[in-house]
Every structure is written in structure tokens, then in C-alpha cells.
């Protein structure tokens, strides 16, 4: 049997004795309780008793208890011995209770038992709580009962010293007999819970030597000093050793300083511990071995081994399963039986249409969403008062007018006649009340109100979001230089490929070469002198290897050398060498149509000296000329030449071509594509793009303009800007469509010239109004992004002469400078 079981059994077996032990204890405590009261009383009575009682308590606590126990045990064991009976008697009430409980006798009367029960209750209270806190109701009874008890107790206490000595002697005498009861008593003490011991070890967990200098050793629960047991010297020890047969097994408790006689069990325990056995004597070290688990496979295996822990825990998988079901229920995926039954019941029930319910789901919402309040009537004014101020009353003249307007009452000042009444009571009924109410209702009913959706668009929203011009710098902002020298209006300007020089031609028949940065006229060539006409167009050969200026003077196209000051001498020499001798013409057969149109003329030496290198005579005056990007071809546009309006001259072979055989309209100008072999030909309203290699029309651009004046190709070649005399600039994105990408109306007059910058995303347009508009024209390589056109700046073009203002525009090839040929005989440079 395991030890705790045996312990339990022991407890049960000792239960019988517990009565006695309890009863034994109770009087002890009552003793203490009485001592307690005694102490109070002692304080009242005087000193004599106090010391005594204390001493008695201390000594008695040890000896008395022992003796009590011994006695009791004796009594329990044996039949009541006489001497003990006497002792019991001498003990008084304590013994009385003992006997009472033990025998449960009725002799002493109900009053006694009552009192005792109360007392014991009080005692138990005293065990747990300080004795001072006893019930007020009890105190009266106690007082009455305790007084006699005390009187009874007083006697035995006075006798205790003598009695204890007697008892000691008795015990010594009965030493052999007493061993057993002592053991029993010890067993009780050890068997009892430890709080019994705690009651005495009140010093707490402190070393005992702290109390060496004090007469007491700690305090009990009631905060009274626990006095040190009387100290014994060696003689006492010796005497005791001689006298006390239990001396050998008496040890001093270090906590209380009291002598403890070790019981037989303790000794046994010590012996077992010394020998290295299990302390519990009942422990069977040699239990038979039960083979719960064996290597042999049994047909019916023994399963009496303890269950595994998880068998006591809820199952995990079940938990998950339940969780799943609960979730499904929550989500409405599955339904409980109750719900299903409810549904079935509902299905069985008949459905009725709620005839009297509202047609809409939420009647509160009806009409509120789109509520249109009826127009309010104007508040009544002073004139409508029953007693209007006199100024509102109509005087004679107004009355006359009122009467006059009787035919047209809506023209009257009021819709009613302001009248004065002495009091509100005197106001007569309004005769038109019903009718007006009716009309008002009709108004509301017959004129349905509707919400007028009004778009709030500000003017700013309509303007496209364009970047700020400040972010698009550089662009020309001011006029910086004027090139003065021409005596007539300047028709055309052009930069040399590096931007160092400028060539210009005007109505005065001169072609002038200028230095760009200083405005100095470096050379004047009399180009038109021979032809007797002004220079319509000039163009510097775009090739860097050629120093040549083409000038259209009347019917002649002159290729001029700009002269020594303006170009590098070596370059000029090279150009001259190239142009000096005409290449052999024998392999070329020129048809009559072409030869009648353009004739390459021999340049006379005097003309050569003047700078003319090549002269080509045409049958009609030249209006426009354009260089090919490589500088070998010049495209010339002739005025009123029908099908022969466009002539392409090739310098290296000195040959002319008429690319078109049929008249497509009045050709305004023709341009080469900067990279591809294409020719842009602008007639009056349409721009046609021809492929020169395939000799076919590539596309036809419908400008929408009435009369095209000029055009310019973006250096990328995919965008074309067309200016027209009807004040428009038309941007074509050739990759986008043949319709205008954007039509810019930036000018107040005819637009005569447009120009693209070669490097910067800039273009400019100018015309008959004295404004040059510089715009930002960003062309993106990304095909998805359309060109961004932002007008940047209006430059004032000075010098307006007879409806003409700016005749030509050119951008500096490298800098963001703009050059304008003005009608006031000047060239103006803007930067």
C-alpha cells in the first residue's frame, strides 16, 4: 500500500481519538483563553497573579500539556484511574467538558452543554482570531459563566506547582507503562497539521540566538511573549539524567527552547534514516513485480497501466470538426435542424400580397432623394398690411394710373390695391382667395419641376494645361540687334551653316552678307542689278563644304559666292573650282519643255568678279527657293508657271528637272524633306508630299487654309508647319494624319513666314501684324506622344511699312536667336 494511503487510514483510525484529542485540546485552549482573561484581570487585580499565571502558563504549557495528554491517554487507554480522576477533578471545568464530550452525558443539564458549545465556539474563534474580538452578545453570558469558572480555576492554578511535581513523580514511576501513551501523544502531534506547531514557533524564521539576551523566545499569536523555559545547569542535567529515564531521548527544540522527548516512532525513523532505508516503515521495498509491459505478445494484454495524458484532454480533430461546423453555421452554409424546420414551416404557410403596404421599399426615402421644394412665394410687404403706412397707399395720381391699367392689370404696380383698415377685424374676406389657391395648386401640379443639371465649368478648365514658358527656356525674348543697310524692304534672310554670317536679299536688288554677332554688313552683292528686280529669296547652301548663296532675283537664280570676308578662303576657293567649269553636258538630253523653262547661262568674267558663280534664267519670276539638305539640289518655285512651277536644279551636273507634268494648282512653295527623298509642294490650299525616287504622290495634306503662304519642315522631318494668308499656322504631324494636328491662330494678319529651329524645340511665325510669335514645339520620339505646342512669346516686330511687316524668319542654327527680315529695310535679331 502506498504511504499516502496508509496516512489516510491512519487519519481515519485516529479519528476516534480525535474526539478525545480535540476535547483535550479544547480545555487547553480554554485554559489559555482563561489565561487571557486572567491577564486582563490580572491587570485589574494586581501584580501577584500576573507573574504567577504567566509562569504557570509557561511551565504548565509544557508540563501540563504533557501531563494532560498523559492523563488523557491513560484515561483513554485504561479505565479511569482514580488518581487521574482526582486530577481531572482538580482540573475542573476542562475535565468536565472532557467527560461531557466523551460520554455525552446529560447530567450537567442543557445549560451546561449550551454554555460549553458557546464556549467552544468562542474558543474556536479564539483560535483563529485574537480573543479580544468576541461577540458582544456572548459577553454577557460569558461574564456570568466565566466568573464562577475562574473562581474554580484559580484554585487549581495555585496548586499546579505542587501537582506538577506530584505528577512528575508519578510519571517517573510509571515510566515503563507510559511509553506507549507518550508515543500516542507524539503521534497525534505529528499527525496533526503543522499549524498546531506553528502556534508555538512564533519567532518566525530567525535564528534563536537573537533571543539570547531576552527572557522570552518570540511571541505567540496573541503577541504575548513566549517565555524561555527555565535554564538548567549541569547539575540539573545530571540530576535529570539520573532521574529521567527518557533523558537519553530528550532533545531540545531549537525553535522553542523546549525539551522534546523523541517518540518511539521518531527513533525508528532516525534509525531507518541512519541505516539508509526508506523512512516509512510501512514501505515494502520488495513488492512483487507486475510485468505490465512485456516483450511477449499477449493475446489479451494487460491494460491496467495508467491512461495517457491525452486521453484526458479534448480531442484536437474533434475540435477542428466542430469548429468547421460552427463556421459553416455562422456563414449560413449549413443550417440547424431548427432553422430547417422553420423554413419548411414558412414554405407551408400561404403567402399573401400586402395590399396595403407601401409600393416602395422604404417609404421614408420616397421623395426625399429627389425632393424638389416648391418655389417659395415672396413674403408680404408693407403694402399688404391691413394698415399700410401712408406712403404705400395710393394717392390720387397713382389711383388714376391704377384705373388706367385696368385693361392690363399685370402692368400695375401691385397685384392688389393697398387699403387701410382700422383693425384686423375690419379686413373683409379676400374675394379671390379660393381662385388664387386653385391657381397656385394648378401651377404646382401642371408645371412639373425638374432639377436643372448645371455644369460648373470655369474658363480655366477649358484651357489645356501647358507648361510654364519659364520652364521652356531658352527662347528669344528681346530684340538685340538691328542690321541696317538695305534700302528697300528685306524679302528674305538666311544663316550660314555655322551661324556666323547672315545673308539677306531685298527689293533693292542687293544680296548682303552680315556678321551675325556684330550686325556688320560685310559684303553687298548686286544680284538684281542685271535683272532689274529685287531679290525675292536667298538661301545659303546648307552644306559646310560649299560656300554658296542662292539668290532669286527676278527670273534669274544666281548662285553667289559670299566673298572672302565672309567665308574661309580655302572653302571659297574650293567652291570656285567646283563651279568654274561646267561638267560635260553631252550625255544629257534636255527636252524642249525643260530647256524653255530654265537655262543655265554662262557667267561673264565681270559677273564672276562680282561674285556670281552660276546664273540660271527661268521663263517666269521666281517666288521661292529651297536647298536640299546636301546642298546639291535647289528647288525653285516659279510664279504662274502652271505645270512647270516647280523646277529642281542639280548643281553638280548643271541640270534642271521638271518633276511634275501636270498642273495641280497654284504652287506657292516647294521644300525638300530634310532626310528622305521627298518633296513637299504647297499649292493654294493643299500640301502634297511626293516621293522623288518612286515619282509618286505619297500623301495629300488638307490644310483647311484659304491660301498658303509658306511652310517649314521640322528638322526631324515628320512635322510640317504651314502658314497661310488667312492668319493661320497649321501644324501637321505627318505620322499622325493628313489632317492638321493643330491650327494656331496667333496672328492678327496674314502669316508670311514660319521657321523651325534646328536644335531647340522652337518655332516662330510672323506676318503682317507687327508680332513675331515664338512657340515651343516639342516633338517626341515616342510615337504615342503628340507634339506639344506652347506659344511662348510675342516679340514686337518693329517697322511696319504699307501693310507689310515681317517677310521672313530664320533661326540661328545653334543659338536660340531669331532673325526677322522686316519691311522697314532692317533685319532684326532677337535673343
Amino acid at each position: 500500500m502506498p504511504p499516502f494511503r496508509s496516512g489516510l487510514l491512519k487519519r481515519k483510525s485516529s479519528n476516534k481519538e480525535s474526539n478525545s484529542s480535540d476535547s483535550e485540546k479544547v480545555p487547553d485552549q480554554s485554559d489559555e483563553g482563561s489565561g487571557d482573561e486572567e491577564l486582563i484581570q490580572g491587570a485589574l487585580n494586581g501584580e501577584d497573579d500576573a507573574t504567577d499565571s504567566e509562569h504557570e502558563e509557561e511551565s504548565g504549557a509544557a508540563s501540563d500539556q504533557e501531563q494532560d495528554a498523559v492523563l488523557f491517554d491513560d484515561s483513554a487507554d485504561s479505565t479511569f484511574g482514580d488518581d487521574e480522576q482526582v486530577d481531572n477533578d482538580s482540573e475542573g471545568s476542562s475535565d468536565l467538558t472532557d467527560s461531557e464530550e466523551e460520554s455525552g452525558d446529560e447530567n450537567d443539564g442543557s445549560s451546561e452543554t449550551d454554555e460549553e458549545s458557546v464556549d467552544s465556539g468562542a474558543e474556536s474563534g479564539a483560535v483563529q482570531t485574537p480573543s479580544g474580538v468576541s461577540d458582544a452578545s456572548d459577553t454577557e453570558k460569558k461574564d456570568t459563566k466565566q466568573k464562577p469558572r475562574k473562581t474554580r480555576q484559580a484554585k487549581p492554578k495555585s496548586e499546579t506547582t505542587e501537582a506538577s511535581i506530584d505528577r512528575l513523580a508519578d510519571t517517573i514511576g510509571k515510566a515503563s507503562v507510559k511509553t506507549q501513551p507518550v508515543e500516542k501523544k507524539d503521534e497525534y502531534e505529528s499527525g496533526d497539521t503543522s499549524d498546531e506547531e506553528d502556534r508555538r514557533t512564533t519567532v518566525g524564521d530567525v535564528p534563536m540566538w537573537w533571543y539570547n539576551e531576552y527572557p522570552h523566545v518570540g511571541y505567540d499569536l496573541d503577541a504575548r511573549q513566549v517565555l524561555r523555559p527555565p535554564q538548567r545547569d549541569h547539575i540539573d542535567d545530571f540530576l535529570k539524567k539520573c532521574e529521567d529515564p527518557d533523558f537519553w531521548r530528550t532533545v531540545r527544540d531549537p525553535n522553542t527552547g523546549q525539551d522534546v522527548v523523541l517518540s518511539k516512532q521518531d527513533l525508528e525513523l532516525i534509525r531507518r534514516l541512519r541505516e539508509g532505508h526508506v523512512p516509512d516503515p510501512t514501505h515494502d521495498e520488495y513488492q512483487p513485480w507486475v510485468e505490465w509491459f512485456s516483450r511477449e505478445v499477449l493475446a489479451t494484454p494487460l491494460r491496467a497501466f495508467p491512461e495517457h495524458k491525452r486521453s484526458f484532454l479534448p480531442s484536437r480533430s474533434e475540435q477542428q470538426q466542430i469548429g468547421r461546423i460552427v463556421h459553416a453555421l455562422k456563414m449560413g452554409w449549413t443550417k440547424t435542424r431548427k432553422q430547417l424546420a422553420e423554413e419548411r414551416r414558412k414554405k407551408r404557410e400561404k403567402q399573401f400580397y400586402n395590399l396595403w403596404g407601401s409600393s416602395e421599399a422604404d417609404p421614408a426615402q420616397r421623395g426625399l432623394q429627389r425632393h424638389i421644394p416648391a418655389p417659395r412665394r415672396a413674403l408680404p410687404g408693407h403694402a399688404e398690411s391691413y394698415n399700410p403706412p401712408p406712403e404705400y397707399l395710393l394717392d390720387k395720381q397713382e389711383m388714376k394710373e391704377w384705373d388706367k391699367l385696368s385693361e392690363t392689370p399685370w402692368k400695375r404696380k401691385y397685384t392688389f390695391l393697398p387699403t387701410r383698415h382700422s383693425s384686423l377685424r375690419a379686413v373683409p374676406a379676400y374675394e379671390r382667395y379660393t381662385r388664387e389657391r386653385f391657381l397656385r395648386c394648378l401651377d404646382l401640379y401642371l408645371a412639373p419641376r425638374a432639377i436643372k443639371m448645371r455644369l460648373t465649368i470655369t474658363a480655366d478648365d477649358l484651357v489645356p494645361k501647358l507648361p510654364s514658358p519659364r520652364d521652356l527656356q531658352p527662347f528669344p525674348t528681346t530684340e538685340v540687334l538691328q542690321f541696317k543697310g538695305h534700302t528697300e524692304l528685306v524679302r528674305s534672310v538666311d544663316f550660314d551653316p555655322t551661324g556666323q554670317y547672315i545673308v539677306s536679299g531685298g527689293d533693292d536688288g542687293t544680296v548682303r552678307v552680315w556678321e551675325c554677332s556684330s550686325g556688320r554688313c560685310l559684303r553687298t552683292l548686286r544680284a538684281g542689278a542685271g535683272a532689274g528686280a529685287g531679290v525675292a529669296r536667298v538661301g545659303w547652301a546648307p552644306s559646310a563644304a560649299l560656300a554658296l548663296v542662292a539668290a532669286a532675283a527676278g527670273r534669274a537664280l544666281l548662285l553667289l559666292a559670299p566673298g572672302a570676308p565672309a567665308v574661309a578662303a580655302r572653302l571659297a576657293e574650293r567652291t570656285d573650282r567646283l563651279l568654274e567649269a561646267a561638267p560635260p553636258q553631252h550625255d544629257v538630253t534636255v527636252d524642249e519643255r525643260t530647256s524653255s523653262c530654265a537655262q543655265w547661262q554662262h557667267v561673264a568674267p565681270e559677273q564672276w568678279a562680282q561674285g556670281v558663280r552660276i546664273s540660271i534664267q527661268h521663263f517666269k519670276p521666281i517666288t521661292h527657293l529651297a536647298w536640299h539638305a546636301r546642298g546639291d539640289y535647289v528647288c525653285v518655285t516659279l510664279a504662274e508657271a502652271a505645270s512647270r512651277a516647280v523646277v529642281v536644279h542639280q548643281l553638280s551636273r548643271r541640270r534642271s528637272q521638271l518633276p511634275f507634268s501636270r498642273n495641280k494648282g497654284l504652287v506657292q512653295c516647294a521644300l525638300f524633306h530634310p532626310t528622305r527623298p521627298q518633296l513637299f509642294v504647297a499649292t493654294q490650299r493643299v500640301v502634297r508630299v511626293y516621293d522623288l525616287v518612286k515619282q509618286e504622290l505619297v500623301r495629300k495634306l488638307l490644310t483647311g487654309a484659304q491660301w498658303i503662304s509658306n511652310m517649314a519642315v521640322h528638322p526631324g522631318g515628320d512635322n510640317l508647319l504651314v502658314s497661310s494668308y488667312d492668319r493661320k499656322c497649321i501644324w501637321f504631324d505627318l505620322e499622325l494624319s493628313s489632317k492638321p494636328y493643330q491650327t494656331l491662330r496667333l496672328h492678327g494678319g496674314a502669316v508670311r513666314s514660319v521657321a523651325f529651329h534646328r536644335r531647340y524645340p522652337l518655332f516662330a511665325s510672323a506676318g503682317d501684324d507687327d508680332k513675331i510669335v515664338v512657340s515651343h514645339g516639342m516633338v517626341y520620339n515616342d510615337l504615342l506622344q503628340n507634339p506639344l505646342l506652347v506659344p511662348l512669346k510675342q516679340l514686337r516686330a518693329g517697322g511696319r511699312r504699307s501693310e507689310l511687316c515681317v517677310l521672313d524668319l530664320r533661326w540661328h542654327p545653334a543659338q536660340a536667336w531669331l532673325l526677322a527680315a522686316c519691311a522697314d529695310h532692317t533685319l532684326r535679331l532677337y535673343a
Partner: protein, 419 residues
């Protein structure tokens, strides 16, 4: 607002770096609306008390917050955002005396370039000629040597009677000339051929041994100024009789993408060039490579370098003059001087004063600037009737400018004893 400012009293303290004009270092309370002239009278009065040896009144300029005082003090402080509560330190220095017009030298054509020396002034003309004048205004010589407008001239050296000068022209050549002063005869010693296009600018190094030219062919060329034929000139080239004595460049510095508009020597080894490609480039002559590059945002027309304050001023295709410090790594302009109303074509530092420079603009004005006064020039040297194309201050006493009105105007810097 000005009336409100006028009430303010200012605590000022006057300091100066010119010891002879020192006044007691004690703060004075003055009205905030005083002008520079009022301060001038105050300083003069103080000077009379402390230093009786100075008899005549001295004109002073006043520097506050690192800028020259041109408006009233209150406005100046308001511009600068300086509190009027603190004691203000005003530095004063003797004012640069107003240059007086001295002479007007008439040319036959536009004067494109000018260079003055101690006694002689060299000018280049658009009629392909070079002129030598004395500083007194006497026309010494007209030299028709070039076949295109002369764009750059510079004295190289004076050696007794023999004066050497260089000229660059749009005829793609630079020429070295020897002028015998006493005989008043000139001789073209060397023709420097190497540029593909016109020479735009020319600068002679400080030791006079080399000169640099910038051209429209985007190159800067370095040439030797020695009058004799060097050994490195190939024999066959020398033998060509029709070319005369030609010379090839020592080094060609290629790097500009547009025309080189200005060139200056910084030291024996470094050449500074400005281009129309919006770049200032510093070249190492020994290695023939680029040392540093400063980017602007307009085409540069001219650049000048001052060894006195190690900074460069540039004229670009707008009306501003910009001051750069090449030592600062970023290209941020240190100061912008704005007063011209047209393009500024030429800028020149003073050779003696580190804070003064001269500028010539297309508005017909030549302006004398103080670097600490970015909005107002010290003096406007007016007189030209057309675009001023060039200016020069190589002779500290002469401020020379050439214009497209065919005149060369000389202003005399008055006696000035700061050095």
C-alpha cells in the same frame, strides 16, 4: 514706407583698410535714410577733426554687407534683409575717381578691337587695317595687312625701338608684326596659319613667349611669338615663297563645339577660353588637354581673367555680366552684374585693382564696375553713338573703347594713389 524708414536711427561704426583715412572706432548714431554723399561729408568732417593733415575733401565709397552703397542706407539694408537694430559696420574706401574723357580717335570703319600699352594704342578695324596711336591721340600708322576684318590685336613686347604685336583676323590668320618706333615702319614677320576659319580673339601670355588664338573653327591655337623661324618648322613649308614666313600652331586645343569667342591666359600653363557653345574651358597648355569646364546657359562673347582676385568675368548673349570663380567646382555664378540694356560684347579687368572692371555693350555704353556693386556700375563712360565692340584697360591710366561709330574713345583714369 520711406517716411517710416526715415525715422529709424542707426548705430554705425566706420572702418577702413586705408590707414591714412582712419577715423575713431566709435559707434555713431545716424539717420537711416542717409545717402552715400551724406556719409561722405560725415567722414570728411571726422577726418578733419582727427587728421588735420588732410586738407582737401576725399570722396569715399561705402561698403555695407559686402555691397557698395548706392541707394540710401535704409533701402540698402532692406534689400539685404539686415536688421537696423544692430550696430552696423560700414567700410569706406576712397572712391575711384571718375574717369575723364580724354580723346576720341576717328577711324575709317568700325573699331573691332583695341589694346593699349604704356604709350601706344593698337586698334583693329573692320576695314582690314590695324592702327597704331599714341596715348596722346596721335595717329602713328595704319597697317593694311589683313584681307578681312581684324578681330583681335595685342601688343606682345617692347624692346627699345622695336615693338612686337600680334593681330588676328577673319582671313583665318594671325600675324606677328614688328614695329620700329623711331622709323615708324612696320613689318609683318610671321603669318600664323592654322585656323580653318576666322580668328576671333587673341591673347598673349604674361611672359610674352606665346599667344593663343580662338577661332570660328572651334579651336584654340597656341603659337610662339619668337620672331625668328623655329627649327621645328618644316623646310618645305618654309621654302614656299608666296606664303611668306608662315608658322604653324604649337598646340591645337580642340574641344569647343561652337566658335571660340574669348581667350585669356591664366598663368604660363593655363588658357581660359569661352565659346558660343555656352562653355568656359580651362586648358592645360603643356598637355594640350582640358583642365576644367564651366557651363553657362548663354553663348559667351568674352571672358577675362584677373590674377588679382582669381576670378573670371564673362559677357554672354544677354545683358548680364557674370562673375565666375573657377575654383568652385559648381558652375554657379557668383555675381551677376546687370545694368547694360543690350548685349555686352567685351569685359576687361583692371590690371591694378582687383574689384574693378570695364564692360562694353551694344547699348553704346562703357561701364566701370565695382565687383561689390552688382546692380549699379561705378561710372557710365558714355560718348559712343553706336554699339561698343571692344574695350581695354591694359594701361591702368587709360580706359579705351572702340565702337561701331568708327571711333575709339579714351578715358583717362585720374590720379589715384591707392597703390
Amino acid at each position: 514706407m520711406s517716411a517710416e524708414i526715415a525715422e529709424v536711427q542707426l548705430q554705425v561704426r566706420f572702418i577702413t583698410k586705408q590707414e591714412q583715412y582712419a577715423v575713431p572706432d566709435s559707434p555713431y548714431a545716424i539717420q537711416s535714410n542717409v545717402q552715400s554723399s551724406d556719409l561722405n561729408t560725415l567722414i570728411n568732417a571726422l577726418l578733419k577733426e582727427t587728421n588735420p593733415s588732410i586738407e582737401k575733401t576725399v570722396e569715399f565709397d561705402f561698403l555695407t554687407c559686402g555691397e557698395l552703397l548706392c541707394t540710401s542706407l535704409a533701402e540698402h539694408l532692406q534689400d539685404k534683409g539686415v536688421s537696423t537694430e544692430d550696430t552696423l559696420e560700414i567700410e569706406y574706401l576712397e572712391r575711384f575717381p571718375a574717369p575723364a574723357p580724354q580723346d576720341c580717335l576717328m577711324h575709317d570703319d568700325w573699331v573691332s578691337t583695341v589694346h593699349a600699352h604704356s604709350n601706344w594704342i593698337l586698334s583693329g578695324c573692320y576695314d582690314n587695317s590695324i592702327h597704331i596711336w599714341s596715348t596722346k591721340g596721335q595717329h602713328k600708322l595704319a597697317i593694311p595687312g589683313h584681307t578681312s576684318p581684324v578681330k583681335a590685336v595685342s601688343w606682345v613686347s617692347f624692346n627699345g625701338d622695336q615693338a612686337v604685336f600680334a593681330s588676328g583676323s577673319h582671313d583665318q590668320s594671325a600675324m606677328l608684326w614688328v614695329w620700329n618706333v623711331t622709323r615708324n615702319s612696320v613689318d609683318c614677320v610671321v603669318t600664323c596659319r592654322g585656323h580653318e576659319k576666322g580668328v576671333e580673339c587673341l591673347a598673349v601670355s604674361a611672359d610674352g613667349n606665346r599667344f593663343a588664338t580662338g577661332s570660328w573653327d572651334n579651336n584654340v591655337c597656341l603659337w610662339s611669338t619668337s620672331l625668328s623661324d623655329e627649327d621645328n618648322v618644316p623646310a618645305k613649308k618654309r621654302s614656299k615663297p608666296e606664303l611668306g614666313n608662315t608658322r604653324e600652331p604649337l598646340t591645337i586645343l580642340k574641344g569647343h563645339r561652337e566658335a571660340v569667342s574669348g581667350v585669356q591666359w591664366m598663368d604660363f600653363n593655363t588658357v581660359l577660353s569661352s565659346g558660343w557653345d555656352h562653355l568656359l574651358k580651362l586648358w592645360d597648355c603643356e598637355l594640350g588637354g582640358l583642365k576644367q569646364e564651366v557651363a553657362g546657359n548663354k553663348a559667351f562673347f568674352d571672358v577675362d581673367w584677373s590674377p588679382l582676385n582669381n576670378s573670371m568675368i564673362t559677357a554672354s548673349a544677354d545683358r548680364h555680366i557674370r562673375l565666375y570663380d573657377p575654383r568652385s567646382t559648381d558652375s554657379i555664378v557668383k555675381t551677376t552684374f546687370t545694368s547694360h540694356t543690350g548685349w555686352v560684347q567685351s569685359v576687361r579687368w583692371s590690371k591694378t585693382r582687383d574689384t574693378l572692371f570695364l564692360s562694353a555693350g551694344y547699348d553704346g555704353q562703357v561701364k566701370l564696375w565695382e565687383t561689390r556693386s552688382p546692380r549699379t556700375p561705378l561710372y557710365d563712360l558714355s560718348g559712343h553713338e553706336d554699339k561698343v565692340l571692344c574695350c581695354d584697360w591694359s594701361n591702368p591710366a587709360l580706359l579705351v573703347s572702340g565702337s561701331s561709330d568708327n571711333t575709339l574713345r579714351i578715358f583717362k583714369a585720374k590720379h589715384y594713389e591707392s597703390t
